[in-house]
Amino acid sequence: MIYYLIPALLMFCCGVYGFVTRKNMIAMLISLELMLNAVDINFVVFNRYLFPGQMEGMFFTLFAIAIAAAETALAIAIIINVFRAARNVDVNDLNKMKH
């Protein structure tokens, strides 16, 4: 089981690291996707190895995938909306509202 959990944790940490360091909004979105997928792997692995008699983790994963898809679609739409105004997707340019 540990062989599946450690990659999932690594993926999650890479996602967090990418989210914090990347300046490109699309790259940040990819990092978020990594984090969400790490969660999915966790659920499936726990379900398969710890509680093989039930399906709760699998079901959660199915729903989590759908939710992640909805989140990404919406985030992309909003990022495109910003791109139309600012002509790039760099988060450093999102600073028009300091005090």
């Binding site: 999650f12 940040m28 710890l50 989590a64 999102l94």
Partner: protein, 483 residues
């Protein structure tokens, strides 16, 4: 499967019915009649709100093998949120008539009702799957609402910040749940409560709890997870900001309470009391200190709402029925006071486009009624005695002190000191409006009928809620009975 279970979800069904009516009206009304969509949604939602308060219409019950629960406190926090949503909808009428927003007016009300449905599910959920679905149903349409002024740059920027932090926080939250699942093998709150009892000192539980609290802390904008709040509040259209600061926060606070008490209530002293303790102190203090520096009214209210969230958390750390009743009462009072403040800001913004605190100097001489309403709202938020805000703070402190440990006394003392600090910046606004001798840049204007009505309701709430002890007594008896 027994489909009659759906009938237990009466409030959700009612809300869906209102949503469908608004949706059909938006789709099929001829173009020249489109102006009435806002009024139609307000009328139907008002009817729905009133029905919720009629005793016997909404019954208690459990559905879907206890995934969904409607107990007395749950039903009533939904009713309280309904009142707030109704005021927000009425306040938004004028804004929704602007040229840029007009053709998408129906969408605004639809999105608003859908987010409310998500919050309902979040509050009623007794299973983490339903909880996550509710959380996402609440936060995704909200991102679309933040981006609603799509021709204004600030709105786009705010939407990006909101959606990225929202997804980030829900990823963290779900990571936490996955570890909880590993501990307990179930996602039902009751099963988790039993399973974590024997694991109360395990590192995995602490880690999972930290993730869960961080995830919901983002939604509630607790410090140190508050960094998105100021920008989003400033950039979003004013009705959306008021919705975010009041309804979204109130629902998240109650859902937080449900998660911590029902799923993790068995490990209160070992696992999450001290986590919440640190969060509350940080939230109240940092929110207050940053609010002093703000010059933009919406940004100022953003930091004020951060520190208010800290006070709301006191009801959760109390961990007794008094705390729960005080939390509900606090949310109710907070709805009226904050919506009064946002109503004034929105009215001034619609009439003159001014949102800076310097523009408010001398407002008393040009628009005395608006200035007076704003003053009442500020006094209530600060907690000055005859107004409702004082009583809500009083009850929430009483609830926390009933816990009886020395640590809680220290916590309440810190919160009290912070109330005094908050008085300074709330009074800055009052000083700008009443005492400043500068000529006011805001010309006298007459606000729209809808705005005036919403403000009258808010003022009535601020003046009466504290004095009419019936409200708090009812809440306390109801929670005591169902605890």
């Amino acid at each position: 499967m027994d489909y009659s279970q759906f009938l237990i979800m009466k409030q959700e069904i009612g809300l869906l019915a209102v949503f469908l009516i608004v949706f059909l009206a938006d789709t099929f009304l001829p173009r020249r009649e489109q102006g009435s969509i806002g009024v139609i949604s307000c009328i139907f939602f008002a009817a729905f709100t009133v029905l919720g308060f009629v005793p016997g219409v909404v019954g208690e019950g459990m559905a879907f093998s206890d995934m969904y629960e409607a107990t007395w406190p749950v039903i009533n926090i939904k009713n309280i949120l309904n009142v707030g949503v109704l005021i927000v909808m009425i306040q938004a009428l004028r804004w929704a008539d602007q040229d840029m927003v007009r053709i998408r007016r129906g969408e605004f009300y639809e999105l608003l009702l859908v987010t409310l449905l998500g919050m309902y599910l979040m509050i009623s959920a007794r299973h983490f799957l339903l909880f996550v679905i509710g959380l996402e149903t609440a936060s995704l349409p909200l991102a679309a609402m933040v981006a609603f002024d799509k021709h204004r740059y600030e709105s786009r920027e705010a939407a990006v910040k909101y959606i990225l932090t929202a997804v980030f926080s829900s990823a963290i939250f779900m990571m936490g749940i996955s570890y909880v699942y590993a501990l307990s093998g179930s996602l039902y709150f009751y099963d988790i409560a039993i399973a974590v009892w024997s694991e109360s000192h395990s590192a995995l539980l602490l880690c999972a709890l930290a993730f869960v609290i961080a995830g919901i802390g983002f939604k509630l904008s607790l410090v140190p997870f508050h960094l998105w709040t100021a920008d989003v509040y400033q950039g979003a259209p004013t009705p959306v900001t008021s919705y975010l600061s009041v309804i979204s926060k109130g629902a998240a606070a109650f859902a937080f309470l449900a998660v911590l008490w029902q799923a993790f209530g068995t490990v209160y002293p070992q696992a999450w009391e001290w986590m919440l303790y640190a969060l509350i102190i940080l939230t109240i203090t940092v929110g207050n200190l940053f609010a002093i520096r703000q010059k933009n009214m919406k940004r100022f209210l953003a930091f004020s709402s951060i520190s208010q969230a800290g006070y709301i958390m006191l009801g959760i750390i109390a961990f007794n029925p008094m705390g729960m009743a005080a939390l509900m009462f606090y949310v109710l009072v907070y709805i009226f006071s904050n919506l009064a403040a946002f109503g004034v800001i929105g009215a001034i913004e619609n009439a003159s486009g001014k949102v800076w605190m310097d523009d408010y100097k001398g407002l008393y001489r040009t628009n005395p009624r608006l200035a007076f309403t704003m003053m009442l709202a500020m006094f209530s938020l600060a907690g000055i005695p005859p107004f409702a805000g004082f009583f809500s703070k009083f009850f929430i402190f009483t609830g926390a002190i009933a816990q009886g440990t020395v640590a809680i006394y220290v916590l309440v003392l810190i919160a009290l000191i912070n109330t005094i600090i908050s008085l300074y910046y709330y009074l800055l606004v009052v000083k700008a409006m009443f005492i400043s001798q500068d000529d006011c840049v805001i010309a006298p204007f007459r606000s729209a009928c809808s705005e005036r009505f919403a403000l009258w309701v808010c003022v009535a709430g601020i003046l009466l809620l504290g004095v009419v002890s019936f409200v708090y007594n009812t809440l306390l008896e109801g929670t005591m009975y169902s605890f």
